[in-house]
């Protein structure tokens, strides 16, 4: 619910308002000298209408502002920014200033920041994608980040970042979700996945689980979240089976997946589980899923 409210806020926020929200957090959490450096860079760039100024400052941002996690404020944060570090926040501000100076060339500037960036700079660009206006044109950049070998860069795209689910075409999104599962990124941190689940993804997820099981290997239990909304034949029964698994995380994953299925058959099994489940966390999830299923009838 909170996520949806925040998303609505972002749509209503102008580029400068997004900038201001970040600046407020930077002021609260970064060295004063760093913040005034950033303000000066923005001022000069704006007065000279020079995006080169912004790009030249891009690498120095981490040194000036630090790399610590920015505290959130009481007001609404733009979606996907709650775990911004100082360098990411500062670099996002630079890109937002570029959007003001030269909206026509925002794609070129953003790509230049990314292409010549080290991993931290690339991560900052990727984390900022959701904040930038007209960001559909930045899809090739995001797709590049999605193909990286670098676990941190990939995580910046896949977790706590609304961009992929907002803009990725379905086949690319499915690959991203499967890669996340494969490299051990919790897919429940892919913002907006629930709305983008599809039959093909569910099939891929199910096949992956089958393949892991035949090799006697484990699979990430959150994978059921990608399967639940469009369960292929047999998937609901499998989830029901995992409701009684000895590993708590598997019971949790199965309960969450079942809650998304809209399949009334699951209710009796969830009720049964709720009576015997000892873990409060799993029990709460089982009850939530029961509620979700009764809401859908």
């Amino acid at each position: 619910m909170t996520t949806m409210r925040q998303a609505a806020t972002l749509l209503a926020m102008s580029v400068t308002e997004r900038q201001d929200a970040l600046m407020k957090r930077l002021r609260a959490g970064c060295p004063e000298s760093g913040v005034s450096w950033l303000e000066e860079v923005a001022r000069t760039a704006l007065s000279e209408r020079s995006t080169k100024r912004l790009l030249d400052a891009f690498p120095a941002t981490a040194r000036r502002l630090g790399t610590g996690l920015l505290a959130t404020t009481t007001t609404c944060e733009p979606e996907g920014t709650s775990n911004f570090t100082a360098d990411v926040g500062g670099r996002a501000v630079l890109l937002l200033v570029a959007a003001v100076i030269d909206p026509e060339n925002l794609k070129t500037v953003t790509e230049a920041a990314y292409d010549i960036g080290d991993t931290r700079e690339k991560i900052a660009v990727v984390r900022s994608l959701g904040l930038l206006p007209d960001n559909t044109q930045l899809l090739p950049l995001a797709l590049d980040a999605g193909r990286t070998n670098d676990a941190n860069l990939f995580a910046a795209l896949a977790t706590d970042n609304p961009y992929a689910c907002q803009r990725y075409p379905e086949p690319d999104l499915n690959k991203l979700v499967m890669k996340a599962a494969f490299v051990g990124i919790p897919i429940d941190r892919i913002i907006g996945l629930e709305q983008r689940c599809n039959q093909d993804l569910a099939r891929m997820g199910m096949e992956y689980i089958d393949q892991q099981q035949s090799a006697d290997r484990d699979f990430p239990p959150e994978l059921w979240l990608a399967i639940g909304p469009h369960p292929p034949a047999g998937a609901v029964a499998r989830m029901i089976g995992y409701l009684n698994h000895s590993v708590e995380a598997h019971r949790l994953g199965a309960a969450r997946g079942l809650g998304m299925t809209a399949d009334g058959r699951a209710r009796a099994f969830l009720q049964e589980r709720s009576a015997v489940e000892e873990s409060p966390e799993v029990r709460a999830e089982v009850l939530r899923s029961l509620e979700a299923l009764s809401a859908t009838g």
Partner: protein
């Protein structure tokens, strides 16, 4: 502990890194220079600069060596109009990257107008950012090239403390000694400057602002010239403090003026070969070492 303040490791192998670490080298500066063959587009420089600030630093760390670099358009390629302007425009941004401790190599090679333009522009940049400038001096007509170099340094007005004039020999060193610039000496196998001649210069002129490097690159050169010079100094009766002054403290003091030379990297002797850089390792299936 030893420091090689001028070495082109992008052209060297992991064997070199291993031997350097074993010989006591704990830190290096890799100046951007030409790569032995002309580059025809700016993109090649982007990839080269990226490897200096990223991949090469990672490789060095895997052998316990702290890697810093300087960034510039080198004089040789300043003569190529296809790339010179675009590369000069990239330099300011790379100078802001972590671990970039100055502008270099700049200077004269063939002493052309194009070289002078790039040289002056980048000296101005070093002055503006208050970071060290590493100046290459020509191998041909060296004395005259050095005179012009020192004149340009004066003309631009960059503090001489921030300048190292490199590749000195018996003819050029006295010119540099008249200034406050730091004195760099590249020790090569067989030709140009040798360890023995270097020891001679140190005996005659002392150790102040004197710096020694291997300038090892893709050509016939020796990445162990700093430890070898240290040995030659000891054999000639210099005490350990003097050896440390020339082969450790001086280069560090010089590049520390950038504010970007992180001493904790030099002092840490941690090696973690389980780490990856952008998903890649220097290992080929070997057991990772951690210490």
């Amino acid at each position: 502990m030893l420091f090689d303040p001028h070495i082109h490791l992008a052209s060297r192998t992991t064997d070199d890194y291993e031997r350097m670490a074993k010989a006591g080298i704990r830190g290096v500066v890799e100046p951007a220079f030409w790569q032995g063959q002309p580059r025809t587009q700016v993109g090649t420089f982007i990839d080269y600069f990226n490897s200096l600030v990223g991949w090469e630093r990672f490789r060095a760390s895997q052998f316990g060596i702290a890697h810093f670099c300087t960034i510039a358009l080198n004089p040789k390629e300043a003569n190529d109009p296809r790339i010179s302007r675009d590369v000069l425009d990239l330099v300011p941004r790379y100078l802001e990257k972590d671990g970039v401790v100055g502008v270099g190599e700049i200077g004269y090679d063939d002493v052309t107008d194009a070289e002078e333009k790039a040289f002056a522009e980048q000296l101005e940049l070093a002055k503006k950012l208050a970071v060290p400038a590493l100046i290459h001096t020509p191998h041909r007509d060296k004395k005259k090239g050095t005179e012009r170099t020192l004149a340009l340094v004066k003309e631009v007005g960059i503090p001489e403390d921030l300048v190292i004039v490199d590749h000195n020999n018996e003819e050029t060193l006295p010119l540099v000694l008249e200034t406050a610039c730091w004195r760099g000496h590249s020790i090569y196998p067989d030709t140009k400057m040798t360890e023995e001649r270097m020891v001679g210069l140190l005996k005659r002129y002392g150790t102040e602002r004197m710096i020694v490097n291997s300038a090892a690159d893709w050509g016939k050169s020796d990445p162990l010239k700093v430890p070898k010079t240290a040995d030659a100094m000891r054999a000639a009766g210099f005490d350990e403090e003097q050896v440390q002054t020339v082969c450790w403290h001086n280069p560090i003091r010089f590049f520390e003026q950038s504010g970007r030379l992180d001493r904790t990297l030099l002092e840490s002797d941690k090696i973690d070969q389980t780490l990856l850089f952008e998903g890649n390792s220097v290992l080929r299936g070997q057991q990772p070492r951690r210490q």
